[in-house]
Amino acid sequence: MTVKGEYASVGDLKMYYEIHGTGRPLVLLHGAFMSATVYPALAESRQVIAVDLQGHGRTADIERPFTFAQMADDTAALLKRLEIEQTDIFGYSMGAKVGLAMAIRHPELVRRLAIYGAAYKSFEESFPHDALKVFKEITPETFAPRDLKEPYEKISPAPNWKGLAAKILESMKAFKGFSPEQMKAIKAEVFIGAGDHNDVSLEHIVEMHKLIPKSQLAVFPNTEHKVLMTNPDKVLVQVKEFLDNGFETAAETKQATT
């Protein structure tokens, strides 16, 4: 069955989204440079709402910087339009930060939030030292991985790779992080996923787990940031279990171990 994508006007943005299946809603938030990705492992018995965030995929960019807060507000506005009052969310990388921003800014909307590959602090404060050096050398002119660039240019209504890269890098550098207080105030149940070879230091992931009251932590062995693009099920089997079941055993002992 092919699913026809739709557009919704959200402020000045014409936001692209797809709806697949029926069941409890699940919003999927893609990573930087990516577009709506419906993972089969998560789609079963769910109403999946996959979106293209500002300037990504089929959602054309507008004159406004990228911020995680703005992307969260866009997605919240779309859900309102779709008359979805509460949803689960899976966010990957940039989408994970948008998911956190949704849990912070629109707490009533988010039941369970699963994230993979994200930090809550600024990149400066959360990237491993060597990775940060590499990251700082990236420029819009030099950064052009084919596995991201080609799909983007194929579906964007107004492709401008360098413009997109510039805005993403700018948004990463401008991000000051969420505050510990904001993290502590998150009401949603949160699954924090990371690889043991991730782009965020392990101590930072642990800190995030300690701050978010109802959170569980999953670290996947021999796993990197990109795993969602290469072998998503490695992570998503656990994510699915969380989204469907939430906490079962360890919630009450978390206090003791952190």
Binding site: H129, H225, T249
Partner: protein, 325 residues
Amino acid sequence: MVLKPQLKQNKQRLKIMRKIIASEFHMRKIMNAKPNMKTTTFVLSILLSMLLAGVVSGQQKPTTGYAPVNGLEMYYEIHGSGEPVVLLHGAFMAISGDWNDWIGELSKTRKVIAVEMQGHGRTADIKRDLSYENLSDDVAGLLDYLKIPSADIIGYSLGGGVAMQCAIRHPEKVRKVVSISAPFRRDGWVKEANDFWPTFTWEIFKGTPMEAEYKRLSPTPEKFPDFVNHIKAWALRPYDFGADKLKATKAPMFFIHGDADGVRLDHIAEMYRMKGGGEIHGDMQPRSASRLAILPDTTHVTLMNRMTTIVPMVNDFLDTKPSKQ
């Protein structure tokens, strides 16, 4: 075969365990209202979980024996064939119950040498301190006795500590280490776990399946209180393998934990960092040979129920060839 299928007995044990677990959950509810008692349930639940009866499946007959090692008559079983891997149980455990399932699963592709460490199961206690050092020397001695030059070592809880100690004290004998839910220093355990031991007496196990299992397996069935007290004495002693010594080990290590398993997450991060992990962006840099897994919503006890998740991870780790530098 030492472990005969004992379906009827297993069923009965399961029934007893269910009752105990049900009352344990009930206790936990009460104890949540009294946080000072929480620690007792925490450790109790660790201990009880070790007794969950698993159905012994009709697998190939293992080789069994007693190895004369450092004054011990150390009981071992060898299952399957392939690369050798030593399997080390946790405190109060033996080759019994759930542990048999792990042996069965791992021995599908490798030669599993399951042991019963000093005082545990069929290995009688001797007049010697229980310590990580002594027990790791026993493992090395057993490998000598079996004429196995080197092996992988998998340990759970106390056995995980012994496995790390093997890599520190007997580097030439250890290929890779899998440590499940074990810290390398006393303060790696959460405070609640350390606070528990001084209040602990052997009577806590009186009439439990743990006591029954001890009496069934041990060559000295009357010495259950002594055995428990011996472990208690060990548990009260401070220990620290030394971060520098862990760091100096050559064997790649795979640390497997639950996000609520009684080992402090900061300690887990520290341990992984000692082995070169925690700061590597796998998309941009070469991997460390060591690995880390943290299972969500999982405790020290429930890690034992995650066999189907853990064993494939372990096999992948053990089967990975070292990358060429």
